[in-house]
């Protein structure tokens, strides 16, 4: 895949969020654009990327001319690759040391909102709506992961 193809791909994704058709997007949409191109930066990594593409004096908008070279390099270097399924599974297993095969709703909420890069309330509710089995009030993480993976492919 040539650099020119990467450029076109990045341009396409950028344009979907360029509502005013003036080659700028709201900085709050940058995360979405980067992730829609298949990359998975953490919040911290995203912060750094934004700092790279922002203006000297942040305007709240990111210009395409600044975004393109930075994003091209990210794609070329295959940075922020998505997390493989088995790593994801192991992460859940760490949170479930007694190997029950599930996490209780309260446990999931506690871990996601108190550890790492905590979820906002909206993010938490969104995850719960799909993950929690209402009868047992828990998430059977193996099934959950399998379902999400199918949905994405």
């Amino acid at each position: 895949i040539t650099v020119a193809e990467f450029h076109k791909k990045i341009k396409d994704a950028f344009e979907v969020f360029d509502h005013e058709a003036n080659n700028t997007v709201d900085v709050r949409e940058i995360g979405t654009i980067i992730r829609s191109l298949g990359c998975c930066p953490s919040e911290g990594e995203l912060h750094d990327l934004i700092a790279e593409v922002e203006e000297e004096e942040p305007t709240g908008y990111i210009r395409f001319e600044k975004f393109l070279p930075v994003m091209t390099e990210v794609l070329l270097e295959r940075r922020y690759r998505p997390i493989p399924e088995d790593i994801l599974l192991r992460a859940f297993e760490v949170l479930d040391p007694s190997k029950r095969g599930f996490l209780l709703k309260e446990e999931l909420i506690k871990y996601m909102t108190e550890e790492g890069e905590p979820f906002s309330q909206e993010e938490m509710e969104e995850m719960l709506s799909a993950a929690i089995d209402p009868e047992s009030n828990s998430v059977h993480y193996k099934d959950y992961i399998a379902m999400m993976v199918i949905d994405e492919s």
Binding site: H19, A21, T24, G116, S129
Partner: protein, 652 residues
Amino acid sequence: MGCGTSSVKDTRSEQVLKAALVIQNWYRGYSTRLKARQRYALTIFQSIEYADEQGQLQLSNFFSFMLENYAHIHEKDPEIVARLFGSTIQDYKDRQDYVAFVDVPNSYNGPRLQFPLTFTDIDLLVDAFKQQQILHARYVLEVLFETKKVLKQMPNFTHVKTSPSKEITICGDLHGKLDDLLLIFYKNGLPSGSNSYIFNGDFVDRGRNSIEILMILFVSFLVYPNDLHLNRGNHEDFMMNLRYGFTKEILCKYKIHGKQILQILEDVYTWLPIGTIIDNEILVIHGGISESTDLNLLHHVERHKMKSVLMPPTPLDGDPDTNLKKKKFNATVLPREVKTSTSLSEQLTKHEWEQVIDILWSDPRGKRGCYPNTSRGGGCYFGPDITSKVLNRYQLKMLIRSHECKPEGYEICHDGKVITIFSASNYYEEGSNRGAYIKLSFGMAPRFFQYQVTRTTCLRPLYQRVNAIESSAIRILRERIIAQKTDLIHAFQLQDRSKSGKLSMSQWAFSMENILGLNLPWRSLSSRLVTTDTNGDIDYMSSFQDIHIQKPVKEAQSTLIETLYRYRSDLQIIFNVIDSDHSGLISVEEFRSMWKLFNSHYNIHIDDFQIDELAERMDLNKDGSIDFNEFLKAFHVVHKLDKLNKSGSGLL
């Protein structure tokens, strides 16, 4: 930071931290990809919607062309000309006289209105419509008659004052979605002397309850004429209704009196005010402005002469500007000798007409300046500099408009000077967008209220909602693709020198955009539309595999089928106009001559004899007439996967 490979040396808490990071990171990536897919789906819906609107302009040119060339239409049937150039119905003085011929039978179980109307009638209607009752034609006609009478006395712009104790609520497009209107009234209260509303146009078309929304709004207006304000939108236009569903809704719900209702509705639309001005500082109009917007002229224009966006004023003796503008949009110029039943005094001047079109059709954009609105085919795109200029010209502070669907129900642009407010949630598809309304009063910042109508009591998870709208968007996109199959294959083969059946991503995307005329992120969409091999090359014939257009007649050629399928909306409108008694039938001869004209105007290369053959076969009972609704229904797209689902043998 990373992928969470814990080492033995990490403490338990470090392990937990890393694990949480992995899961959060993964989830955020997944969630944003979902939202990006949602955004792509919306882009598809929007591009296709605007491309359709541009089709409207072509249709308008076709009508002019038809009049010019189909000379004996207006000799044999002056009513067609009258229909196209508008003529007012006989003016009854009295409501009773007007509805004298319509009786309400005792068996009627629906709501019964009592004139003069009071707030109890509003409650009555809301309750009845919640239970999906239909208002009797007599009451519909009475309401329309009275509404026209009262609207006639209103100026082009209503001036409204607010105060901290008297806020006003502004709603945008409703497009026949009754649930949204009911939700707004539930959250914000019914209109009354102390609860003012502005409804900023586009009450009808697309949704299933346009007439019910109109009835609630008009009855509320008649009860509270100083507190319920209605602005005209681009869909308050009988030509738009022909294409976008309202005409059909009326003819279905009111089989006997539908025609009368449509006739008076045409008039009522033209008397709707152009806009509202709040506290002398906020302008509320449906679409937007242009750099030449002249509010003084608009205050004085005779607004009821604006029949339809598709009926521009006929040009005067070789008016060079009109000819130039028509040339720009590929229109034909009517010869001076064309006789119409309309005298010049019944039309707006070209300049006035354009001023009104700009108000109803324009869209704000980030780019500075003022440009023709090429995606819709009418009005213009206006930049932040235009907004500042026009607002300053009239000492106004803000513009509130509607006309465009926004994912969050509203959007602010042009440095806070322009607000778009859109009140039809799930406009394209369930889950596509929220609706919103604004509450404001003098001196306070506007407050926004968002909502989304759901069919079920609890919201489905995000991924299910996104899957639903994405499938829907891809589905209609694929219907577009199949409608241009022959042209697309031709374009692909031109680039495929080695006849391998494969193209590079660039080549494929280029042809798709070129032939379909849709500005979409083709590379990102490719995985949903076509198969790619391991080298990254596209198997271009794969997009035609699971879908085909049902042939109504086996022998018909595919180019004919595709063309008829592509233009079926336009054909529907033209048929509806020709079929002035709404019988659903046109004669085979009319069909033939109509098609010949269509053929030459749209530059379609279909042999006349193919059409003739088709017409013969469509005249099923050989009585010389075609049921054209059946004819058009016969061209529908078959999705192979649907068939599989129906027979139960395919699991998806």
